[in-house]
């Protein structure tokens, strides 16, 4: 094949692949939701956790507060907001504790009190039982509070209603609606109809809340303020921040890189040609992710492109290093012979590094890994086969002079080998001594959290009296009835745990929705009207009330004895539905789940999980889930996996370098700068930063990827000439672009970007300087084989 034909083929293949990739991208679904940065799930409890985080009731419930104006104005705004949002299809339910809601709940409880009250059994409705219960109710009537219960007595002389209302504290109320304790804020909760994973729909719901409130505010003519918090608000804010920061900081990085390159090339055409590898990498990378995954996350592109920063280096190497030759085919041959193998080796080490991402278990990171690896390979191939065709003849500034001026400085660094080794040793000590606190074992910090929103969340949660539930007992059943029956068996066990002070309280769905079996059993314990009347005649002998006054009671018992048991649908339209349905998620794989939330006795102290687990063991399928502990355990699992894979990758890189360089000494010298750079970054973060996260680990992988390129150029193969001025200049330029691009990222408020930036910028700089420090000595020029001929003394002495 003639060179001309080969060039043509390469160009055709490149353009064809790009066209195909563009076609694929045209079909791609892009999403912006954050769930990709929640781990995919290995165990059942963890899968449940992630599902709860992604879709559960909590994840789509907005907490809303209205402040300012007058108390009546706030109450009116609360009512109006509730009524209008309720009519919107985007909301499943909206509640504000309004009196008609409470009345509806009360009516439901009252109408079903004999099915709901745990006191109902045969003994309770025996003659003695009735005497005791009615006697107790009369005692209650004769109390300072008594008048307030007098209305209930004739229909509920056994006091079931009081039982049902006993534990229900609920939020404070003011002026007929939920309010903060000090009355300065009215409160609502609104549950979006969409899944908690659908951030776009949640954002629309959020917009509707704000827009509706603005209308109401105008109509009322008061200076009211709206606060919206809750998990969906966090998801939306995180997405918005990430979106804007990824865009903003990527743009800033790009601008900086462009300016640096423009200064070096002094040619727009070269600059544009230099972007060809990266641009091709972006296009083909997106297409590859699209083929491998359902949808492409917006973050993947913003973030993965940063990882592909190495690809910019490729074109820098090409344009700077091939400057001296004018003929295209000569350029190609020379550059390909002298420099391409080094770049290819660097590319391979990078690929091994990024492969760790594919095993991280975070779908988002797996996407980024796929994207960065495909993109890098593409960029390298474009640099190798396309750039020589289109870019060789382009006139450009020569920065060889810059390299020549720089050479003595970098050469001088060799005197610092001992200090560099010492610094590495100190860093190693810091890392080893402080390895306990080096990695942060919590999931928090993966997504940016706005402190103002967090404060609003805390305030509203306190107002609503809803602690964010950390401890759940999950019960499974083939159907709802089975799950409810099993859950009911927990109640006496948990009552005992409350008595023993192990938990402060618990919230079970079976309080409001007992199993059908239990409801039937309670119905069976209710006597017929005639029997009840006969029993009352005797039971009331010594009490100041006569049977004919309690006709309403007899009627109600008779009606509920024959009524259909309550099911979840009966609760619809009452404010009770939200609470109960939220605790009964059904799952295509697990069947029906029921969740019982536990209240800690002390929020600072975790509950005695072992004691709870032991106590609930007799109940089929009951599992205690510590949401916080579980998510942290989950995260640690992923961190551990990724760390292990990264270490295996490091081992693979060592083997690869050794296989290619065939000299332990050279491999050592290649690896030493990278290793010391990594140690310095780790030690630095250990000393000043918080713990390192999975994201820092990714930054370290990238540092290894770019650092290995520098080190390889500073350790050329045996017969190659040592580094010339242009190569030195190209490396310096590559380092400058990397450090400036990632330095900008380290200023971001988004932890994902900040973590990577704060690792890669100092890491790349250190790797470059250290690579220069440990560069092969020029005096070994021409010696062959180089490593064997080098006197040992020269190696280590400065």
């Amino acid at each position: 094949m003639s060179p001309r034909r080969r060039s043509f083929l390469a160009l055709a293949l490149w353009i064809g692949t790009l066209a195909l990739a563009v076609a694929i991208i045209g079909q791609t679904r892009f999403t912006a939701d954050m769930s990709a940065f929640l781990p995919a799930t290995p165990t059942e409890a963890q899968r449940l956790l992630v599902e709860q985080l992604q879709q559960g009731g909590i994840s789509r419930t907005f907490l809303i507060g209205i402040e300012g104006g007058t108390a009546d104005g706030r109450a009116a705004a609360s009512e109006a907001l509730k009524m209008r949002l309720r009519d919107e299809p985007g909301f499943a339910t909206v509640q504000n504790g309004g009196s008609e809601d409470l009345e509806r709940a009360r009516q439901h409880l009252f109408a079903h009190r004999y099915l709901l009250s745990p006191a109902v059994d045969t003994a309770h409705f025996s003659r003695e039982g009735l005497t005791t219960a009615i006697g107790a109710s009369i005692q209650r009537l004769n109390s300072p509070w008594g008048d307030m219960m007098a209305d209930l007595f004739p229909r509920d002389p056994t006091g079931e209603m009081l039982q049902l209302l006993d534990d229900d504290d609920g939020p404070s109320r003011c002026c007929g609606v939920w309010a903060s304790t000090n009355g300065e804020r009215t409160l609502l909760i609104a549950q979006a109809a969409a899944s908690g994973a659908d951030t776009d729909a949640l954002a629309r719901a959020n917009d509707r809340i704000h827009a509706t409130f603005e209308d109401i505010k105008t109509e009322l003519g008061q200076t009211l303020r709206l606060t919206v918090a809750g998990s969906p608000a966090f998801a939306i804010a995180a997405r918005d921040t990430i979106r804007s920061e990824v865009t903003g900081f990527s743009a800033a990085s790009l601008l900086l890189v462009t300016l640096v390159l423009l200064a070096a090339y002094r040619s727009i055409r070269v600059l544009l040609a230099g972007l060809l590898p990266v641009a091709s990498g972006v296009v083909i990378g997106i297409a590859a992710v699209s083929l491998g995954f359902d949808q492409v996350h917006g973050i993947t592109i913003g973030f993965g492109t940063a990882l592909m920063g190495e690809a910019i280096d490729y074109s820098i190497y090409f344009f700077v290093q091939s400057r001296q030759l004018d003929q295209a085919d000569v350029v190609q041959r020379h550059w390909v012979r002298h420099y391409w193998p080094t770049i290819r080796l660097g590319l391979m080490t990078s690929l091994i590094g990024f492969a760790a991402l594919l095993f991280s278990g975070f779908p988002g990171l797996m996407q980024i890994g796929t994207y960065a690896m495909t993109g890098l390979v593409t960029a390298a191939l474009v640099t190798r086969y396309i750039l020589p065709l289109v870019g060789s003849r382009l006139p450009r500034g020569d920065i060889a002079g810059f390299g020549e001026r720089l050479a003595p400085v970098l050469h001088g660094l060799r005197r610092l080998r001992v200090p560099a080794l010492l610094a590495g040793a100190v860093a190693l000590l810091i890392v080893v001594a402080g390895h306990d606190g080096l990695w942060r074992g919590t999931l928090s910090g993966l997504v940016p959290i706005d402190p103002a929103l967090e404060a609003a969340e805390t305030r509203l949660r306190e107002d609503l009296g809803s602690a964010s539930p950390r401890y759940l007992i999950v019960v499974k059943g083939a159907d709802r009835e089975t799950a409810l029956q099993r859950t009911e068996r927990l109640t006496p066990i948990l009552d005992r745990l409350v008595e023993n002070g192990i938990v402060a309280g618990f919230h079970t769905p079976t309080d409001l929705l007992p199993s059908t079996a239990t409801q039937r059993a309670r119905q069976a314990a209710l006597p017929t009207a005639d029997t009840l009347r006969a029993r009352l005649e005797v039971a009331l002998t010594d009490l100041p009330v006569s049977t004919d006054r309690l006709d309403g009671f007899v009627e109600d018992v008779e009606r509920q004895r024959a009524a259909d048991p309550i099911d979840l649908e009966t609760l619809r339209g009452t404010p009770l539905w939200l609470a109960v349905a939220g605790q009964l998620p059904s799952d295509p794989r697990e069947g029906q789940l029921a969740m019982v939330t536990l209240k800690e006795t002390d929020t600072e102290q975790p509950i005695d999980a072992a004691a709870v687990r032991k106590a609930i063991a007799p109940v089929d399928s009951a599992t205690l889930v510590d949401m916080l502990g579980e998510s942290n355990r989950l995260y640690r699992h992923y961190l551990q996996t990724t760390l292990t894979v990264a270490l295996i990758g490091a081992g693979a890189i060592v083997l690869l370098l050794f296989a290619v360089q065939r000299s332990p000494r050279r491999t050592l010298r290649t690896l030493l700068p990278i290793a010391i750079a990594i140690l310095l970054v780790l030690a630095g973060h250990r000393l000043v930063g918080g713990g390192l996260t999975l994201l820092h680990l990714i930054g370290l992988l990238l540092t290894v990827a770019v650092g290995s390129n520098y080190a390889l150029f500073f350790q050329p193969g045996g017969r190659d000439e040592p580094m010339d001025a242009r190569t030195l200049a190209s490396l310096t330029l590559a380092t400058a672009t990397t450090v400036s691009a990632f330095g900008v990222l380290s200023l971001s408020a988004v932890p994902i970007l900040q973590a990577i930036g704060a690792v890669v910028a100092p890491g790349a700089l250190a790797a470059f300087l250290l690579a220069a420090t440990f560069a092969r000595d020029p005096s070994s020029r021409g010696s062959s084989p180089p490593s064997g001929a080098m006197p040992p003394g020269r190696e280590s002495s400065p």
Binding site: R106, I138, L141, D151, F153, L165, R173, C175, R549
Partner: protein, 203 residues
């Protein structure tokens, strides 16, 4: 879930706390203004009570007894001793019931109905008895120089929906106005009669 009826007894307690308001100028005719002045000037106080409840659905009235105590400006405690020990406390806007080792709390700002009662309560406790005129038809009577009576009839809902009238009977002893008897009549025919005995009654 709040469904219980309104805490009218508290209003009675508040009125009962007029019990030993000293009347500044004993020589003057008793009047509602003088009563208000006395109310505004009073300090902490304490008394015992006996209460009889007449409930429509019960064949016999219920008897109970206990202590009342008041600390300005808005701390009021009704402590029932027999037949069961229960305590009802008004602390600012918060109502607290303690019985059988349990505590229940209720905020008076919670609903319009409760707020109406709260307004009356505050008016009485702060000595702004004239403010009651907005919600109640007030009739003040003096029976000679020693005895007086005050009748409150709610003018409109939500109070009128539940409450027929509150009647207070008192006397004047050594320039101090004492409440002897407080009657609350509910719309459903139920009634409470509270008889109050003062420390000054037992020499």
């Amino acid at each position: 879930m709040r469904y219980l009826a309104l805490p009218f007894p508290l209003l009675a307690c508040a009125l009962a706390s007029l019990l030993f308001s000293p009347l500044a100028e004993a020589a003057q005719e008793l009047s509602i203004e003088r009563l208000a002045q006395a109310l505004a000037a009073r300090g902490p106080s304490h008394a015992e009570y006996q209460q009889t409840r007449y409930l429509d659905m019960l064949d016999a009235p219920l008897e109970s007894r206990g202590h009342l105590s008041y600390r300005p400006p808005d701390h009021l405690v009704q402590e029932q001793i027999a037949p069961t020990r229960q305590t009802l406390t008004l602390d600012g806007d918060e109502l607290i019931l303690q019985a059988d080792g349990r505590t229940r709390r209720l905020n008076l700002a919670e609903s319009p109905e409760l707020a109406a009662v709260a307004t009356s309560l505050r008016a009485v406790l702060n000595g702004q008895i004239e403010r009651l005129g907005a919600d109640y038809e007030m009739t003040f009577r003096s029976f000679g120089e020693q005895e007086w009576g005050l009748e409150l009839v709610p003018r409109s809902d939500p109070l009128a929906a539940h409450l027929d009238r509150i009647t207070v009977r008192g006397r004047l002893v050594d320039d101090v106005a004492l409440v002897d008897r407080l009657t609350i009549e509910r719309d459903n025919g139920n009634a409470n009669v509270m008889r109050i005995s003062h420390p000054t009654d037992t020499p």
